[in-house]
């Protein structure tokens, strides 16, 4: 105002600011952060913090996204391709428009180049030595988690290469080998010892494993079930597992012009599609209905799209050779019956009705069982491995009584690794594990466990955000992103991966559709809507600071948080 001339009258101008008035006293209600579990995280057996890694993708922080995934899952490249994604089935967004394409994004993050993440094992005062039997998804994951916990793992693998079902079961057009190689390499780079061509019971004895502080049994289900019908051993009749192993070993296989595949699981689908690529016309014959097929619907659909024919309600009875090289399979026709006691649909034979199919080759894929020949009897129950009372022995994967999926294998491995660590530290029991659960369904978080180890606090089990708590007013309807596929007529001519990678822009857009249920993602809603301007946001940490001396407790931030991450509490 220029000179301070006393002749110039002072008109009232307020320079003081209202910060001095503590309007926070108007109400005892104050906003508290409320971190809840997103349903996708709970549904994921592996307990991956899905909203976290999606958040990082959305912000372009890809290295941190990959890091977030790797904290819980060493095989994002595999899971991003072959898993049946229960996360997407439980995505809250599905109730509003369409679920987020989580699997696609897991694949996207797994292929970040150059791989910028370097994993560091946690410091460990008393590292232990653990033997892992089987270098499949469960075994390798267990070794990985143990390494992150600061222990030494040695993996014994009977075959000449590690990977288990990932290497020998799943064909290249679903899981390219370089992806697997990279992910296994990552695990080995943590210092995990791998001994291939080493079969327990042949190259080393079971008792030799006593040298280790603990053992994780994950031999998988490597033996194919038999059809137990006449003609099963004829030339030209394959079992599915062996067939796939040969394909995955890049061996030359000849099937002829037509092939019949018997079975309805994922293996049968893989077999059928691989057979297609060998130039054969393929028909799948399954003894029940399509709805009852155990294969993942996506896989069934893929097989259909590629031209595999399906026939249902056919139970194989015998196989004969006819005129030269052709095989004839005789099927008993079946019909759907009333559901049994556990409400599963039954199939019953139609008396006297039979059907035959002729083909150059027949491949059976009717299930896998565990090779128990080398396992002590006390660890066996109902054809599966069971650890019984021995505190040193743990098991997981297809060899135990659990769903036969890669994610369940990884989850079992994680539970075992944490349980081992707890054991080594003098804690025991299932209750201990419950503290690191994500939600209520049993998936466990290694990150939570590591933080407990460091900070000494049990992280609380958290509530899951249901769809009703999401404020959809803040979201506009949108379609989910679906990555492209190879052109349909090209697919069966090549072993190239059928599902294409998403491009970066679409991946970022897809990730931005995530509601971030129950977890602040620095959307700034509360910041903009607070009438007092009492909220500060840390964008990187995704935390909020509320000026409680001036918060009037109106509740706008809690109501306006689209993801239910704020709750009003009476602080009296």
């Amino acid at each position: 105002m220029g000179k301070a001339d006393p002749a110039v009258p002072v008109i009232p101008i307020s320079y003081g600011r209202t910060q001095v008035i503590e309007t926070g006293k108007w109400s005892s209600l104050k906003p508290q952060p409320l971190t809840m579990i997103a349903p996708c995280r709970e549904a994921c057996p592996i307990g991956t913090d899905i909203p976290l890694f999606l958040h990082f993708i959305e912000r372009g922080r890809y290295a941190e996204a990959l890091s977030a995934v790797l904290k819980e899952n060493p095989f994002p490249g595999v899971c991003g391709r072959v898993w049946f994604h229960p996360c997407e089935a439980s995505c809250n967004r599905a109730q509003y428009d369409e679920p987020v394409s989580i699997q696609m994004l897991e694949r996207f993050v797994s292929s970040i180049k150059p791989e910028p993440v370097s994993l560091i094992p946690a410091p460990n005062q008393a590292p232990q030595r653990i033997a892992v039997i089987g270098a499949g998804p469960a075994g390798l994951s267990c070794a990985y988690f143990l390494a992150l916990l600061g222990h030494y793992a040695t993996v014994f693998e009977a075959k000449k290469e590690p990977g288990g079902v990932m290497r020998w079961g799943i064909p290249r057009f679903r899981l390219p080998k370089p992806v697997l190689k990279k992910e296994i390499g990552r695990i080995l780079s943590l210092g995990v010892q791998l001994r291939t061509n080493c079969r327990v019971g042949k190259d080393i004895t079971f008792e030799e494993l006593d040298k280790f502080d603990a053992v994780f049994l994950s031999p998988g289900a490597g033996i194919n079930s038999l059809l137990s019908i006449e003609g099963e051993n004829l030339e030209g009749v394959w079992n599915g597992g062996e067939f796939l192993e040969r394909i995955n070993a890049l061996e030359k296989v000849r099937l002829g012009k037509t092939t019949v595949v018997i079975g309805g699981g994922n293996t049968a689908m893989d077999v059928a599609r691989a057979a297609l690529r060998l130039g054969s016309k393929v028909t799948i014959a399954y003894r029940r209905t399509r709805e009852a097929m155990p294969a993942i619907p996506d896989e069934i659909h893929e097989a259909e799209e590629e031209g595999v024919a399906f026939q249902y309600l056919l139970q194989p009875v015998k196989i004969r050779r006819i005129r030269g090289k052709k095989l004839r399979v005789t099927f008993q026709c079946m019909k759907s019956g009333a559901p049994d006691k556990s409400n599963r649909p039954r199939v019953l034979p139609v008396k006297g009705k039979y059907v035959t199919l002729e083909a150059d080759s027949v491949i059976s894929a009717v299930g896998e069982i565990v090779d128990l020949s080398w396992i002590p009897e006390k660890l066996v129950k109902n054809g599966l491995v069971e650890t019984g009372g021995d505190p040193r022995i743990f098991a997981g994967g297809d060899a135990v009584a659990q769903p036969r999926t890669i994610a369940d294998a990884i989850a079992a491995a994680k539970r075992a690794a944490i349980s081992m660590d707890l054991l080594f530290r003098g804690n025991q029991g299932r209750e201990a594990l419950a503290g690191f659960r994500a939600g209520t369904k049993g998936s466990v978080s290694l990150d939570a466990y590591l933080r407990f180890r460091e900070e000494g606090k049990w992280p609380e089990a958290k509530e899951v955000v249901s769809d009703g708590r999401i404020n959809t007013l803040y979201f506009e309807k949108s379609r989910r992103v679906v990555a492209g596929k190879l052109q349909r007529d090209k697919r069966r001519k090549t072993y190239r991966e059928v599902n294409l990678a998403p491009d970066e822009a679409r991946a970022v857009y897809s990730a931005s559709r995530c509601y971030s249920c129950g977890q602040c993602n620095a959307c700034y809603n509360c910041f903009y809507f607070c009438p007092e301007g009492a909220i500060a946001i840390n964008r990187d940490e995704r935390t909020r600071t509320v000026d409680l001396a001036h918060c009037k407790g109106c509740g706008t931030c809690a109501r306006a948080c689209p993801r239910n991450a704020v709750i009003m509490k009476d602080m009296v």
Binding site: M1, G2, A7, V8, P9, I11, P12, I13, S14, Y15
Partner: protein
């Protein structure tokens, strides 16, 4: 209004002043003053008989002769609002109005004074409705006497021009707004020779503009907030003190003006009052008529004097005391009536002289209301009537017709 400068012979120049005389209406004279004061922001709304001030200034703004911005507002209320805001921002402002427009501005007049803005406004005194009419009456500006504005009542166009210039100088020292009243048609539209000063003269008289810039984006503050009772009282008291100082300041500025321009008016003007037995008090254009009437009465040997009230707010108590001390009879002519309270100038004069030890008789006359003519004869009658009376009535006497 033609500028006849080019055609005038040299001897028509005023030998005391430096400027040129032009034939100008009162409104034009005012417009010239505003231009000479380099007032850059004018906000106005047309109303008879002010319109030619507005038009004249608009014309100069459009042609660039008047540098600045003319805000052609949609009402007088908004015009004053804009002036207040602009003045607080730190520029010199001006507006003009009359009658209804001034009444419409009423809320803003208080606001302007409360904001301590040195706005100068010319009000052409016109009757205030209802009923309707356009002729001279002082009630419009007198109704606003409580708003905290200075008020000057000008006798003719020359005085109006000079007073506008003086008013800026006074206002920008005391930070109070000034209203300059001129009679409708008698001053606003009468064309008379007016001495228009040179720009350099006025620049030298008015110091460079140094209004505070109340809005400072680098040191932001909240102007004119709600205040406590105590603060308001203090603030009003400060304004009152400032207004009181204008009695003396106006005289000083007028004296300085006289020295520099050769013309001065005082806050009051006494004429032949030394031995007067009755002093007639006038305001505005009626004063010119009164000069003639008083002159004639003196010729007849009647001891009558004249007091012209120029400054009305603040009421020039000291000057009035000085001029009227020892006088026995005072006849106040009011060209207005505050219904139920009589003539306003008379009220104020009575209040000013209440403690005067001489206790003059103050006789109230209401004449010229509605723009009726105050002829020399009316003045004469008033003077004689007053001389005849011994006790002044409480109520004013209305001069209703021009006959005796």
């Amino acid at each position: 209004m033609r500028n006849l400068r080019a055609g005038l012979p040299k001897k028509c120049r005023d030998h005391e002043g430096y400027g040129m005389k032009e034939f100008l209406s009162g409104n034009d004279a005012v417009a010239h003053a505003v231009k000479l004061c380099r007032t850059p922001l004018i906000a106005a709304y047309p109303i008879t008989p002010q319109t030619s001030i507005y038009e004249r200034l608009s014309g100069w703004e459009a042609s660039g002769q008047l540098k600045g911005i003319m805000m052609r507002t949609e009402s007088e209320h908004s015009a004053m609002a804009s002036c207040i805001a602009a003045s607080l921002t730190g520029v010199r402002t001006f507006t003009a109005t009359s009658s209804q427009g001034l009444a419409l501005m009423h809320e803003m007049l208080h606001f302007a004074a409360g904001c301590r803005t040195p706005i100068v406004m010319v009000n052409v005194n016109r009757i205030i409705s209802a009923p309707w009419g356009f002729w001279a009456d002082h009630l419009d500006s007198l109704s606003q006497r409580d708003t905290g504005w200075m008020q000057f009542y000008c006798e003719n166009g020359q005085e109006a021009l000079d007073t506008v210039i003086q008013a800026y100088k006074i206002a920008e020292q005391v930070y109070l707004p000034a209203m300059i009243a001129t009679d409708a048609f008698f001053v606003s539209h009468f064309v008379e020779p007016v001495d228009v000063p040179d720009q350099e003269q006025v620049d030298a008289f008015l110091p460079p503009l140094d209004l505070p810039h109340r809005f400072d984006v680098d040191k932001p503050g909240f102007l004119m907030p709600v205040v406590t009772s105590e603060f308001y009282r203090h603030y009003k008291n400060a304004a009152s003190t400032a207004m009181d100082s204008v009695q003396e300041l106006a005289e000083q500025v007028d004296e300085e003006f006289r020295r520099k321009f050769g013309r001065g008016y005082g806050v009051v003007e006494s004429l032949l009052t030394d031995d007067a037995e009755v002093v007639v008090v006038t305001e505005g254009s009626m004063t010119s008529t009164a000069r003639v009437a008083i002159g004639d009465l003196r010729q007849e040997g009647i001891k009558v004097g004249l007091l012209k009230l120029r400054l009305f707010r603040p009421f020039p108590v000291r000057a009035v005391h000085k001029a009227l001390c020892g006088k026995k009879k005072i006849a106040v002519i009011d060209r207005n009536c505050s219904v139920g309270g009589g003539g306003i100038f008379c009220q104020e004069l009575k209040a000013a002289l209440f403690h005067s030890k001489d206790h003059p008789g103050i006789y109230s006359y209401i004449a010229g209301v509605g723009g009726t003519d105050i002829t020399p004869d009316v003045i004469r009658r008033i003077a004689l009537k007053t001389l005849e009376s011994s006790i002044p009535a409480d109520a004013p006497e209305w001069i209703m017709n021009d006959e005796a």
